[in-house]
């Protein structure tokens, strides 16, 4: 198989957009892309001492702005342009009708503080989404306030902290986090004032029960667990784990990053989770936006519901929907009600699927990952040789032995027209390659990807230099990230000399 170079060298228009010339450099004095209405009221006196002298922003025609950003867009790889098996990120298809729905003026042009009686449609949608998320997770109540998964973690841990304090179990200072966890877990725990204790993963990929038992004492507030884990494995001792955590007086926090594997198959609440967050931009198909906006609703048990963040949507006796602050709320996470525009899309996705559709979704996601595992298991090392869930984690250790890094494999995939998997994560797998195909892809694209991975494994044996030089067909070749960090240039400057000053200043 030869590299198809699907994302081949960009056309000249895109080349021109690349790198050197930013909007500021394309500025022509006097140009303006959008005209404003004329002033139709008497001019008021301006406070001259408070006015700014100058404002350096680009001056461009509308067409120039459109061409520039359109050209930039063409330098991006995206779900709509190709297979994007970025592990742990669930890069599934984002239904177009959901965009259409979110853009309806009734949803998009609503002010967050307008009277509740003028926003009943959105409030009802939010209420029903809360109910649906509680149902899917098997928990009692959901809050839509967190604006991303990490903020959901922060809110969920604050809920745990407040609930423990309220029940006389305050003073618990530790949160247990498996070594395979996402970095947000320990970072969120630290933001909540907890000390993080890392729990090792056993050789079989499940959490090390001996280590867990040893760590569980009266100092522990919670265990944060991703299920299935970031190894793509469902912890077979989950009931034993949650019983032990609860027996120690601690609570179970579920990181829902991998909910796409189990939605409709099992309810985390039934397994003993007390709190979990849901990344709607993963499981519920809201677009990733190049790094957001997402949303990270949390669902909790009945005992924890009074502590949820503000606001929460309630329905009163007359069937009216209202924004309320839960009785013992941990407080507000942002200015308003969460990323409602994103939640509209998540709601639409769930309404399209229904319960059976949700189960089919996760079933297909798991079948696809196992298919990739089966096709690649001879060529790549499989450190945890078990059936996986929605993603499979290989190690590039065989190739490493021949002087090829996982980074090289990833970059070579770009030449074959694919977005690389997540690499070097989870941290406990040497040269990790984490592949999440999602349910959305057909067998044809899975096969094309596997063929490319197999071809690359052969190239690693026969022509490793091809990998080390890759990518050669992308808009740019490998970038010097070390210099970027050592001498940061983080903004446009009008003349190169001031850029030099930036560099020297570090």
């Amino acid at each position: 198989m030869t590299a198809p170079a699907r994302l081949s060298a960009p056309p000249e228009a895109c080349r021109d957009a690349l790198g050197e010339r930013l909007t500021f450099d394309r500025s022509t004095p006097g140009k303006q892309g959008v005209l404003l209405p004329p002033l139709d009221v008497p001019e008021a006196a301006l406070p001259t001492d408070l006015l700014r002298d100058e404002l350096r922003l680009p001056e461009m025609s509308q067409l120039d702005v459109v061409r520039y950003f359109t050209a930039l867009s063409r330098l991006n790889y995206s779900i709509d342009t190709g297979f994007y098996p970025l592990g742990s990120c669930t890069m599934k298809y984002n239904p177009k009708v959901d965009e259409q729905i979110a853009a309806l003026p009734g949803f998009a042009q609503l002010h967050p503080l307008q009277p509740e009686e003028t926003a009943q449609g959105t409030l009802r949608l939010m209420y029903e989404l809360q109910e649906m998320l509680a149902e899917i997770t098997g928990l009692h109540t959901a809050s839509l306030a967190p604006m991303a998964g990490a903020q959901g973690e922060f809110a969920g841990l604050l809920v745990i902290k407040a609930a423990l304090e309220a029940s006389g179990r305050g003073g618990r200072t530790r949160v247990l986090v498996p070594d395979a966890a996402h970095g947000t877990n320990p970072a969120s725990a630290a933001m909540c004032g907890f000390e993080v204790v890392s729990i090792p993963t056993g050789a079989d990929g499940d959490i090390d029960l001996t280590a867990l038992d040893a760590a569980l004492d009266e100092r522990v507030a919670a265990l944060m667990l991703t299920l299935p884990s970031t190894l793509g494995l469902f912890d077979r001792n989950i009931l034993r784990v949650s019983r032990a955590v609860h027996a120690a007086g601690a609570l179970m926090y579920g990181d829902g990053a991998n909910l796409n594997a189990i939605a409709g198959q099992v309810r985390p609440g039934d397994l003993g989770f007390d709190v979990m967050h849901i990344n709607v931009h993963k499981t519920l198909a809201t677009p990733h936006g190049g790094g957001g906006p997402g949303a990270g609703p949390i669902a909790v048990t009945e005992a924890l519901a009074p502590f949820l963040p503000a606001p929460h949507v309630a329905r009163d006796a007359e069937g009216r929907y209202r924004l309320v602050t839960p009785e013992r709320s941990i407080g507000r996470l942002g200015a308003f009600h969460g990323n409602v525009g994103v939640l509209v899309r998540a709601y639409a996705y769930l309404r399209a699927l229904g319960a059976e559709g949700l189960r089919e979704m996760s079933t297909a996601a798991v079948v696809h990952a196992n298919y990739v595992q089966a096709r690649l298991r001879e060529a790549y090392a499989l450190p945890y040789d078990r059936r996986c869930m929605h993603e499979v984690v290989f190690s590039g250790s065989k190739q490493r032995a021949r002087g090829v890094r996982t980074l090289d494999i990833a970059k070579r995939l770009i030449d074959y027209g694919f977005h690389p998997p997540t690499i070097y994560f989870p941290l406990i797998v040497e040269e990790a390659l984490m592949i999440e195909p999602t349910e959305a892809e057909g067998k044809e694209s899975l096969d094309a990807f596997c063929d490319a991975m197999l071809a690359i494994a052969r190239e690693a044996e026969e022509a490793p230099e091809l990998l080390r030089q890759a990518p050669v067909s992308a808009p740019l070749r490998r970038l010097d990230e070390a210099t970027a960090a050592r001498r940061p240039v983080l903004r446009w400057r009008p003349d190169p000399r001031s850029e030099e000053r930036d560099r020297g200043g570090e």
Binding site: L110, A189, G290, G291, G292, A335, G354, H419, K443, P475
Partner: protein, 424 residues
């Protein structure tokens, strides 16, 4: 595929899930085909009365502003909205270069040295700025001026509660002590008035605290940037800059600071570098601050934020340019002042802070409870403002933007006048 995997039935792949809990019955609404989905959701949207249908003078941290057609057109490029975090810079220059544009524009607007690629929203950015100040100074107390919008203060309290950091809501800079990590203010403040920004900056620095300023980015089209007042960290909400309302979210938080605090900054940062052939390109950088590298020692837990809305801001600012932004700010300013003058002349109404400089938001004291005034106005399809009687007796906060032509302002004045006389 099942044959290749070596299972007879897909249920075998779920064997690790405890059998007693597998395949639960989920009570979810039945599935909908696309046409039915669209019909049902359109009906739900029709239960709302969006601004545009209503004449809006609502502010309080978000307001109706014009979103130029170019913004949704660019954001609708699926190469932007169906991509993710640019972990592979060779095939993500669109996102990265746009983020670099955004950072550059935020620096120009605020006058600060460095900016990150965006936070969740203005309030969480403001809260993170306060946490950052505690990290920089090694002090635990946060001081915020009482004129800060209450929702913002609440967010600060939530963020601070994690590490048990005390938050002092202070009336005057004289209450600052050397225990304070920062003085956090809003400029213009939660009532729309300008604070004496320079003097507050001096007061903060006099006790060795950082000066954290939350600003209105649209006002910066016309007014002096916070950097001129000595701000150390500046935050803002990008909602006015092409983002739209969306019932309050998604928006994007702007976050900028002095260069010497760079290593303490939360969030993603994009930097310029070169590829193997010497061509300029952009990458995520200074990642050793971040959770995926530093884990519990990261500057914040923030990961995915609001990249697409940062793009909206960059497109908006490029399309308007300095003159366009100034024109929007001037329209807001002059129309708000016209409205304030006319409302103050109505019998029974007066400005809550007469003589104070304001931008496009101002508080008035109503002759009767604002709740009743607002209800009367709503009957005329006017959202006359925000009830702030919990802060100011009979207080009403009114926000006027480039979306309110004179005829709408005259309607507001007329409506308020009538509401003063109307029997409850």
């Amino acid at each position: 595929m099942l044959a290749t995997i070596g299972v007879a039935d897909e249920s075998e792949l779920f064997a690790d899930i405890p059998a007693e809990y597998r395949n639960p019955t989920l009570r979810l609404p039945p599935p909908l085909a696309e046409a039915d989905l669209l019909r049902e959701l359109t009906a739900l949207a029709a239960m709302n009365r969006p601004v545009g249908e209503l004449v809006s003078f609502l502010g309080g941290g978000a307001a109706r502003h014009y979103v130029p057609g170019i913004v949704p057109a660019i954001l609708g490029r699926s190469e932007f909205y169906t991509a993710y975090t640019p972990y592979q810079p060779e095939i993500a220059q669109g996102t990265l270069q746009s983020a670099f544009e955004f950072q550059s524009m935020v620096c120009e607007l605020t006058g600060m040295d460095v900016a990150n690629a965006g936070m969740y929203d203005g309030a969480s950015a403001f809260a993170e700025a306060c946490l950052m100040a505690t990290a920089v100074t090694g002090r635990r107390r946060i001081a915020a001026l009482e004129t800060v919008e209450p929702r913002y203060l609440e967010a600060v309290r939530t963020y601070a509660s994690g590490r048990g950091l005390p938050v002092d809501r202070i009336a005057s800079p004289e209450e600052l002590t050397s225990a304070h990590a920062c003085l956090a203010i809003q400029q213009p403040n939660g009532y729309g008035c300008f604070e004496d920004g320079a003097q507050l900056g001096v007061a903060a620095h006099a006790v060795g605290a950082l000066y954290v300023v939350h600003t209105d980015p649209l006002a910066l089209g016309l007014f002096r940037p916070p950097a001129d007042d000595g701000a150390d960290i500046v935050t803002a909400d990008g909602q006015a800059l092409g983002v739209g309302l969306n019932f309050g979210g998604p928006s994007v938080g702007l976050f900028a600071c002095r260069e010497r605090f760079l290593r303490y900054m939360p969030g993603r940062i994009v930097g310029r570098t070169r590829d193997l052939d010497g061509r300029i390109g952009y990458v995520l950088t200074l990642q050793t601050r971040e959770q995926h590298i530093r884990r519990e020692r990261a500057t914040s837990n923030i990961c995915t934020a609001q990249q697409l809305l940062a793009l909206a801001v960059a497109v908006y600012l490029a399309a308007l340019g300095p003159r366009g932004l100034r024109q929007v700010a001037e329209l807001c300013y002059h129309r708000a002042h016209y409205a304030a003058e006319r409302i103050a002349a109505l019998p029974g109404y007066r400005l809550a802070f007469p003589g104070k400089t304001f931008f496009n938001q101002f508080a008035v004291v109503c002759p009767r409870p604002p709740r009743e005034v607002l209800a009367a106005a709503l009957r005329q399809n006017v959202l006359a403002g925000l009830d702030i009687s919990d802060r100011i007796a009979n207080g009403l906060l009114i926000c006027v933007t480039e979306m309110n032509p004179r005829a709408e302002i005259d309607l507001l004045v007329e409506t308020l006048g009538a509401a003063a006389e109307e029997r409850p």
